[in-house]
């Protein structure tokens, strides 16, 4: 609530200034000072002081080019200082090193990651702004300025120009008889189109959904026809890569026990149950949980089905022996924890393709669902108290 106080202070000081000027102009006197004081006292007791809105402060802050340049210089100098402080080479100090250094020097317990201290390049912190689009005579520089979305329309113009070029080239080839069908297929899965927000940021302009859709359609048309390297590069500027999830799975290394039997260990969690499973390469499908046979430890069929799930999925039902320890949770969550541990351990015995299949079947993801807390003013997590009319 700083803003009202500022205005209040400004109003008071303004009145004070006026009051003092008037009293000095007319007569010097103790009682005039007293009257001024009374005025101040009176001011202190009035509520709802109306003050003029500070219109200038409401407008978006504009950063000049010089200011940004200065910030960039300061950032670079600061980066070198930081590298020196950390004992690293200033030339090869990357952004990740900066982040690590800042996290080390300014440890913060705040949960909100964006509230913690950051040191990034000014281009990432200050929003991109447009320089003045017209010269001293008032004439705009860009020929499409009066469309309102000059960057967008010039981009469309460029893309359509490229499309026309490509089509003309194809017509020429067809006329000569050297026409060939488009043979190469692009990697459509590993990348995706820019989303509307990213495009807006790139062009520093607001776009509508239809504009964006039109642009993507044009780019897709460009993709369907065979185009040269520079057109490819133009299209690739608007594609972003998408991570392939399968590569992220950690595969445990195999270990060997005294008899030369290979085994693999892994952990699993579900709600508050923690399990550790040791899967042996050769066996007859015996599962021991905390030293007890699984048939006795899990009398409920559903739990035993969950234990069987990873093996049945990979068609290895009677082929492995498992020893596991589990603690915490209830019967169902213990079964889920063991299932996850077993699936993870099985990854070491199985091909990469099968690991991806397991991931897509949901066997390798830890279930994040936990019990929702009860809220005050309600009977349970979601249930409200009975509504009474009076």
């Amino acid at each position: 609530m700083a803003a009202p106080c500022v205005f209040w202070g400004a109003a008071v000081s303004y009145r004070l200034f006026l009051g003092s000027r008037v009293s000095l102009a007319l007569r010097q006197g103790v009682w005039k000072a007293a009257a001024a004081e009374l005025q101040i006292l009176r001011l202190r007791h009035t509520t709802g002081v109306t003050a003029k809105k500070n219109v200038a402060a409401l407008k978006r802050e504009t950063y000049t080019v010089d200011f940004i340049k200065k910030q960039i210089e300061e950032f670079n100098i600061g980066k070198r200082h930081l590298a020196n402080m950390m004992g690293e080479d200033p030339e090869t100090f990357t952004q990740e090193d900066i982040d690590r250094a800042i996290a080390y020097l300014f440890p913060s317990g705040l949960f909100e990651k964006q509230a913690r201290p950051i040191m990034k390049h000014p281009e990432q912190i200050f929003p991109k702004q447009r320089a003045i689009q017209w010269g001293e005579d008032g004439r705009p520089f860009h020929f499409l300025f009066y469309t309102g979305k000059q960057s967008y329309y010039s981009l469309m113009h460029e893309a359509y120009g490229k499309l026309l070029d490509v089509e003309k080239r194809q017509n020429q080839l067809q006329a000569k008889g050297l026409f060939s069908e488009k043979t190469k297929t692009k990697d459509l899965i590993g990348s995706r189109w820019l989303i509307k927000e990213e495009l807006e940021e790139m062009l520093v302009e607001k776009l509508s959904d239809q504009d964006y859709a039109q642009f993507i359609r044009l780019l897709e048309r460009l993709l369907t026809v065979e185009c040269s390297a520079e057109e490819e590069e133009f299209v690739q500027r608007f594609r972003r890569s998408v991570t392939v999830q399968s590569r992220k799975q950690l595969i445990e290394p195999l270990q060997y026990d005294g008899q030369g039997m290979a085994f693999s260990t892994s952990e699993g969690k579900r709600k508050s149950a923690k399990a550790e499973a040791i899967v042996y390469e050769h066996g007859s499908g015996r599962i021991k949980v905390n030293g007890i046979d699984y048939l006795l430890y899990f009398p409920v069929t559903q739990d035993r089905e969950q234990l069987m799930f990873p093996f049945h999925f990979l068609d290895r039902l009677g082929k492995h022996d498992v020893t596991c320890t589990v603690s915490g949770g209830g019967r169902s969550s213990q079964a889920g924890a063991i299932r996850l541990a077993m699936a993870k351990a099985l990854c070491s015995f199985v091909t990469e393709e099968e690991v991806e299949w397991m991931r897509q079947a949901g066997l390798l993801t830890a279930d994040p669902r936990v019990r929702e807390r009860k809220k005050p003013g309600q009977e349970g997590a979601r249930r409200k108290f009975t509504w009474k009319k009076r």
Binding site: Q124, I189, I195, T243, E305, H312, G362, P368
Partner: protein, 230 residues
């Protein structure tokens, strides 16, 4: 408002709304595909769409498989849904055992009939409890339903075509309610349920009657059909 760089991978949340308040998974998480045969299909048999779908799934985050789902051939989604609807207070063990006893009772009754019947009739007696169950529920599904629509201060029951999932739900709900309310307190649930399922399989019984009542009401209120705007 300062604009920030958006994370450039599949965890974008810009145009998609979060599905449920407080879901522990992000909106980008997809449901797992548990069926073994889906993965064992050789690459040559797949169509273009299926290949694209496979490639796409490699980039998506997948949720964990729930505790009630396995890749077993004996698992049936309809039976699982029905078991969950019978369940009271989270007692899945009891619900599952009731379901198993119901299917066993259905099978026993059909086998008794089979052994008591002559050779010509034997061919027409269905003994698989799962087919009986599915057929019974299908027979109980209403085609058209009634929806209360507020117009001029009064609620009118307007006939409305029902979605598939709503029909399946109504069939199961009617079956369970009927069995719970209209049975003698000494009669056990599996016995009553098996009896109702067999009657529904032959298009008789109180649940089928309820379906016909619903159809008749819809027919009677035919004039109000134009109150529907979707």
């Amino acid at each position: 408002m300062r604009s920030r760089m958006f994370p450039f991978d599949s965890s974008l949340r810009t145009s998609e709304l979060t599905q449920v308040r407080g879901s522990r998974y992000g909106p980008e998480y997809k449901d797992p595909q548990v069926d073994k045969e889906y993965y064992r299909k050789p690459l040559a048999e797949l169509t273009e769409e299926e290949k694209y779908e496979r490639e796409l799934r490699k980039t998506q985050h997948i949720k964990a498989a729930p505790a009630s789902k396995t890749s077993s051939v004996f698992e049936d989604p309809v039976i699982s849904k029905f078991t969950n609807m019978i369940m009271k207070g989270g007692n899945k063990v009891l619900a599952r055992s009731l379901m198993a006893q119901t299917l066993e009772a259905v099978k026993r009754k059909q086998f008794e009939k089979y052994h008591a019947a002559s050779a010509e009739e034997r061919a027409s007696i269905e003994r698989n409890p799962y087919t009986i169950f599915h057929q019974a529920l299908k027979n109980c599904e209403p085609v058209i339903g009634l929806v209360p629509i507020l117009r001029g201060g009064h609620f009118y029951q307007v006939p409305v075509p029902l979605a598939d999932r709503r029909r399946r739900f109504l069939a199961m709900k009617w079956m369970i309610t009927e069995c719970r309310e209209k049975k003698h307190r000494r009669v056990l649930m599996p016995e009553k349920l098996s009896h109702e399922l067999l009657e529904a399989f032959h298009n008789q019984g109180p649940v089928i009657k309820k379906k016909h009542d619903m159809h008749k009401m819809a027919e009677a209120n035919r004039a109000l059909a134009h109150y529907r705007w979707w």
